[in-house]
């Protein structure tokens, strides 16, 4: 069987590895993580030394993990959309897009390549920060598998953020407008998944059952990440904690009851987020395909020489 690395991934990694921007980016990333570590450590120190503290800092060091992880997730959520949002529009601005489209690469493999290279570049950053992360494990009592799950969760989140970025990149001609649209879309998607819950809370709260209004949250990357942390740190769920199941049957609809059972939500949410990401990538591929009906609708623009 013939296995070939996606040419776009290969090229992007080659080009990125050589640029000083990547080195400076890595340095800035590590600096922010280190700063979060120091701030977290000083906060833990002051809480341990405080009136209610027992003076044992080692028990509290485990809390450095969410501090560092959330700091990283925030940075990743900012970096990946910027990387992918400027990928297709960047190719168009650089006037390398047409040549790429005349090769045997399909629009979908181009989109996959762009998202993959952004995810891989971000993983370089995350891997680079593992020594700092590891400090909270060494003395905090967390197992190494948690670190592995954390990396997996970051990948899921990066793929999702990257797919929104690439979709916006396929919609916009200019990179800057693609970046702005990406953040707007990311924000709107987050809000949209909460809408049914808001409707229940502010409108029909007197009803006994919430129904299935929590299900759209399966597509919310922030809820996914929070749930992930709750499960890792406490073994409980942010959606409620009533033993094995998070809800009483009458409180929610049947699907919500089943999906919030134990750790089902985390895995299901990861699947839903990846599915949504795949859908965004499919739309992006359709958008960039010059022979698709989507391309037909775009106005012809005079090339600049």
């Amino acid at each position: 069987m013939r296995v070939q690395l996606n040419p776009i991934v290969k090229k992007d990694l080659q080009v990125t590895a050589r640029s000083m921007r990547f080195s400076w980016g890595l340095f800035a990333y590590e600096a922010v993580v280190a700063l979060a570590f120091l701030l977290g450590l000083s906060s833990i120190q002051s809480s341990v030394d405080g009136y209610y503290g027992d003076g044992n800092i080692y028990q509290e060091l485990i809390n450095l993990f969410p501090v560092l992880a959330i700091a990283q997730v925030c940075i990743v959520s900012l970096i990946v959309p910027v990387m992918t949002a400027s990928s297709i529009s960047g190719e168009k601005e650089r006037q390398t897009f047409d040549i790429m489209m005349t090769t045997c690469m399909s629009p979908l493999s181009i989109v996959f390549g762009k998202v993959s290279s952004a995810v891989l570049r971000v993983l370089f950053y995350v891997m680079g920060s593992l020594p700092v992360m590891a400090l909270s494990f060494v003395v905090g009592g967390l197992s190494w598998s948690v670190l592995f799950y954390f990396v997996l969760a970051v990948i899921v989140l990066s793929v999702f953020a990257g797919s929104i970025g690439i979709l916006c990149s396929s919609l916009c001609r200019r990179s800057i407008s693609a970046v702005i649209l990406t953040f707007v879309m990311y924000f709107v998607l987050n809000i949209l998944t909460f809408c049914p819950l808001f409707v229940y809370l502010f409108g029909s709260w007197e009803e006994e059952s919430m129904g299935e209004c929590l299900l759209p949250l399966l597509f919310n990357p922030n809820v996914f990440f929070e749930e992930f942390f709750m499960q890792v740190m406490t073994g409980e769920s942010i959606l409620g904690s009533t033993g094995e199941s998070n809800f009483i049957k009458t409180e929610v609809g049947y699907l919500t009851y089943c999906f919030t059972y134990g750790k089902v939500w985390v895995f299901l949410s990861a699947g839903c987020i990846l599915l949504l990401a795949f859908l965004f990538m499919l739309i992006a591929a359709w958008r960039i395909d010059p022979l698709s009906a989507a391309a037909e609708r775009k106005p012809a623009k005079k090339k600049s020489k």
Binding site: K11, Q14, R94, M101, T102, T103, C104, P290
Partner: protein, 309 residues
């Protein structure tokens, strides 16, 4: 090699290409000429699969796949008029990247890239970053890149635009070389003299329509209605004029002191017989030549004076 049948491209109410039908035989070097907005680039982009045709069909060789299919893409090498390159990417890596985009192995690409870079005279630039190359070098690199997957048809959209005279000459020589290697080439250019030197056939477009297409000399002949011949005579001018007037197929265009210009629609043998008749009647000929039409005048005649692009 390339069969275009009733190709039309519309942007709303505007028709960029209208009912274009064209056949380019294998091994031909076909020049596409036309004023700005004539529809040349649109046609080339439709053949490449970069633009969806409103109607009509495009067929390359015996490939059954539709435009934009992998089979079709493998048959085409495309060189746009302007293209960008990536920063921090060396010439060797640039070729390798495009090789893998055509599904070629790195080793296979490396060997081919070496040969092609030598062909385009860039073998000493393999380890140089592409963004540091001159415009002419980038253009030649782009031709090498377009040839990497050994396409049967090479499409060049104004490859000489923006090049200095030396780079133009180099590009022309390169294209002649490729033609001699048997590649079928379609080139659009605004440098008509260059096209007339290189091309075996031309197609002239105006307002989205193909006005004429075929062998350059045939088009010239069709348009002029025959061969224009200058005959320089030092004596017996009256006898010469009489003979020429009597000769079938000869139209006397102008008679000057020592020169007569005629248009002859006959064959080369008939022209030879005409000269023989003049010499037999003691007319002293000091000069005789067939007027070679040029592409500029032909272009101006066909497009009604439109600016070539």
């Amino acid at each position: 090699m390339l069969y275009i049948n009733n190709l039309t491209k519309k942007y709303g109410a505007f028709t960029a290409v209208r009912q274009l039908s064209l056949h380019i035989p294998e091994g031909d070097l076909f020049g596409f000429v036309g004023p700005n907005g004539a529809g040349k680039t649109t046609t080339i982009r439709m053949v490449c699969g970069l633009l969806r045709a409103t109607s009509g069909s495009i067929k390359i060789g015996n490939i059954k796949g539709a435009v934009g299919s992998k089979e079709m893409k493998r048959m085409i090498g495309y060189v746009p008029d302007f293209f960008g390159v990536y920063d921090n990417l060396k010439v060797r890596e640039y070729m390798d990247m495009y090789g893998s985009m055509y599904g070629m192995y790195a080793r296979e690409t490396a060997k081919l890239a070496d040969d092609l870079l030598e062909l385009v005279n860039l073998s000493d630039k393999k380890e140089v970053y592409v963004d540091t190359l001159s415009r002419g070098m980038k253009q030649r690199l782009c031709v090498a890149r377009a040839l990497l997957h050994n396409p049967k048809l090479l499409l060049l959209d104004e490859p000489s635009s923006g090049l200095d005279p030396r780079a133009r000459v180099e590009m022309k020589e390169l294209l002649k070389n490729l033609h001699s290697m048997g590649k079928t080439i379609l080139i659009s250019s605004h440098i008509l003299s260059e096209l007339s030197e290189m091309c075996t056939s031309i197609g002239i477009m105006n307002h989205g329509q193909l006005i004429t297409a075929g062998r350059i000399e045939e088009i010239m002949y069709q348009l002029s209605g025959g061969k224009r011949i200058h005959i320089q005579i030092s004596s017996e001018m009256e006898t010469a004029v009489r003979i020429l007037k009597e000769h079938a197929g000869v139209v006397l265009e102008s008679v000057m002191e020592n020169e007569v210009i005629i248009t002859n629609s006959g064959t080369d043998e008939e022209i030879s017989a005409l000269i023989g008749a003049l010499l037999q009647n003691k007319v002293i000929l000091t000069g005789f030549y067939k007027e070679e039409g040029n592409l500029e005048s032909l272009f101006m005649q066909l497009t009604g004076g439109g600016e070539p692009s």
